[in-house]
């Protein structure tokens, strides 16, 4: 059985505009060769720091812009090169929930009209009564009272608006929902509500989720598999337990070590990455992480590591996985980590 969503070698380069004279064009390599798949009713989380291209991947899957290279398949069918007419049917299957609950709802439309828009566009109901029944059902699914339908978005709190956003995504009866930092703007208790709601809906409706987030705590709670992105590439992709217990890429290790622990006495080793993310206009040669990696050696600067399986279902792109790490090298790294801490 083919996976629900398949992304192969996805690239998205943004042009920085043509200079007035001369031909040299510069490109931002926002996403530079990303491949993954999502099965039915599965959650894949895309994590990474700001600007690593995770949102761009989500938008490419939503077909909000044409991609530079690669292919996106939905249910085995390519969707990255569909014409506008054929695209429409595909759009129904992939919906989105955005980060900002304020700007993701049109302030000049009542909730009823916001939710009715996809239902009418995709011709999912035949009559007015059918529409109303469906709207009531949506409200029930996301846990909002039915009288919310006749209100304006500004009458709701952030968490309630996010529920409306989820209801809009569900209205189209999708198979995959892209959650682009869907809970990042919410405070902790509301965040938990929304995360639980998404999980319930996934179980109930068999939804697949592409969960884009920088919040590893939430990711660990709700995902099946995790893909870690750095500077436009996936550096590690593994099932949740595998990734959190045995990360195989130094960047993942650094990310995990940065997750706060709610215990002031807890002792741990932290890896503090120095410097900034290199510019995606001129990504570094070799491994993209080589400028900040505490384990860097010569090969990393010349040869780009491929994303290869290191265990069953666990992919990582790091040269360290190829060669046995010498005992002295390891001790050196640990000592460094301790000193920094």
């Amino acid at each position: 059985m083919s996976p629900l969503l398949e992304v192969n070698g996805l690239k998205k380069h943004y042009s920085l505009g043509r200079p007035l004279f001369g031909h040299s064009r510069e490109y931002v390599h926002a996403v530079d060769g990303v491949s993954f798949h999502i099965d039915k009713a599965e959650t894949l989380s895309l994590v990474g720091e700001s600007g690593c291209g995770k949102s761009t991947v989500g938008r490419a899957v939503l077909r909000l812009f044409p991609i530079t290279a690669g292919e996106v398949r939905l249910g085995g069918e390519r969707i990255d090169n569909l014409s506008a007419g054929r695209l429409r049917n595909m759009r129904r299957k992939v919906q989105v929930v955005f980060q900002d609950p304020v700007s993701s709802l049109n302030p000049r439309m009542r909730v009823r009209n916001i939710l009715a828009e996809p239902i009418k566009n995709f011709g999912l109901v035949r009559s007015r009564a059918g529409l109303n029944a469906r709207l009531d059902d949506l409200m029930k699914k996301v846990g909002l009272p039915a009288d919310a339908l006749n209100r304006w978005p500004h009458e709701f709190s952030g968490g309630q608006r996010q529920r409306i956003g989820i209801a809009r995504a569900l209205a189209a009866d999708p198979e995959l929902i892209v959650c682009d930092e869907a809970v990042s703007a919410l405070d902790v208790s509301v965040k938990a509500q929304i995360v639980n709601l998404l999980q319930d809906l996934q179980r109930e409706l068999g939804l697949a989720l592409l969960f884009i987030s920088h919040d590893l705590a939430v990711v660990e709670h709700m995902t099946h598999r995790v893909a870690v992105m750095y500077l436009g590439k996936i550096v590690e992709l593994a099932p949740r337990h595998e990734l959190f217990a045995r990360p195989r890429h130094p960047y993942t290790v650094a990310l995990l070590s940065a997750v706060p622990i709610p215990d002031p006495k807890a002792k741990r080793s932290r890896i503090i990455l120095k410097g900034d993310v290199p510019s995606p206009i001129n990504p570094p040669k070799g491994c993209r992480f080589n400028t900040r990696c505490p384990f860097v050696f010569d090969r990393c600067r010349s040869e780009e590591p491929e994303l290869r399986p290191v265990e069953e279902g666990h992919l990582a792109a790091c040269h360290l996985n190829d060669q046995p790490v010498s005992e002295s090298q390891l001790r050196g790294v640990e000592a460094m980590a301790r000193r920094i801490w």
Binding site: P118, P145, S257, S269, F295
Partner: protein, 307 residues
């Protein structure tokens, strides 16, 4: 590579106590009464009241004890205000009170026509420029060119090309003021098209024309209304200036600019000829500007920085 001990992150379900949502939302606040709204926005109340007064004067001018504003009476030229001629008479013996009251018609017609026409044209130009990317460069350079000439100068130039009439004055000022609206709308549209709710509408299968009508247009109306009031005030002043320098409506038509132009040479001895129309013009422009400021604050406080 050996693994480094990593502490398990937080489990949000253990941390947060999840409260169920109430079944019924708080009852909606009853729609604020008109009086309450005006109490909250005194600028709008004062501006609207003054403007309403001006409208009444313009519409009811034949019934407000006026005489024919164009009737000459050479035997009673430049009389000071009296019981018969409330604001006095001008160099040709015409009643200034009547002329000022009738002059309100020209100012209001020009002000509101220009505000309307400039908004409609500017909205169309701004929408095209903001939504159709390849036209943006061309349109905006043309707009920049128009804006490099001060609107008053542009209007004078345009009036020099044609005959003086109310229609031509409206047209000239509209052309001179339209770029401001176009630029504002373009800016708002560029901002709106990146909004998540527009992207959500695209994924919801809404086509481009509907996205413009449903999601973009309604959100440009508030800033545009505010801009329109400013243009209305500015158009009234430009109209008066055009009339004052003789490039506006024909001199026989009573307009505030015309009356002031005629009283200009006698300003030092007979100041009331200039002062009455000037007072009415100031009052009307003040009313419109108050209304604009109030609307801006009421519709969108963030706009205060932009316009």
């Amino acid at each position: 590579m050996s693994t480094i001990e990593v502490h398990s992150p937080i489990d949000p379900s253990k941390l947060a106590v999840v409260h169920p949502l109430p079944d019924v939302l708080e009852p909606r606040k009853s729609r604020r009464l008109l009086i309450g709204f005006f109490m909250g926005h005194p600028a709008i109340a004062v501006g609207a009241l003054l403007l309403l007064l001006m409208f009444c004067i313009a519409i009811l001018s034949p019934y407000l004890g006026t005489m024919d504003p164009t009737q000459l009476a050479t035997w009673k030229r430049t009389r000071p205000p009296s019981a018969v001629n409330w604001f006095g008479t001008d160099m040709l013996g015409r009643d200034i009170y009547s002329r000022v009251l009738y002059g309100a018609r020209i100012s209001l017609v020009v002000g509101f026509s220009v505000a309307f026409c400039a908004s409609v044209v500017g909205l169309a130009v701004g929408l095209v420029s903001g939504m159709v990317r390849w036209t943006d460069g061309i349109i905006m350079r043309a707009i920049d060119g128009m804006m490099s000439v001060p609107p008053i100068l542009l209007a004078i130039t345009l009036m020099a090309l044609t005959r003086g009439s109310v229609g031509n004055v409206v047209l000239a000022i509209t052309i001179a003021e339209m770029p401001r609206v176009a630029r504002l709308v373009r800016g708002v549209v560029l901002q709106l098209r990146e909004q998540p709710f527009v992207e959500a509408a695209i994924t919801a299968g809404t086509n481009m024309p509907l996205i413009i009508i449903r999601h973009v247009l309604p959100n440009t109306l508030a800033p545009m209304t505010v801009q329109a009031t400013y243009i209305c005030a500015s158009a009234m002043i430009i109209e008066a200036i055009l009339s004052f320098i003789g490039a506006g409506v024909p001199p026989v038509t009573p307009s505030w600019g015309n009356i002031m132009a005629e009283g200009r040479s006698l300003w030092q001895v007979k100041p009331y000829i200039v002062m009455f129309p000037a007072f009415f013009l100031s009052l009307t422009v003040l009313a419109v500007n108050l209304l604009g400021d109030g609307l801006r604050d009421a519709l969108d406080p963030r706009l205060a920085k932009r316009v």
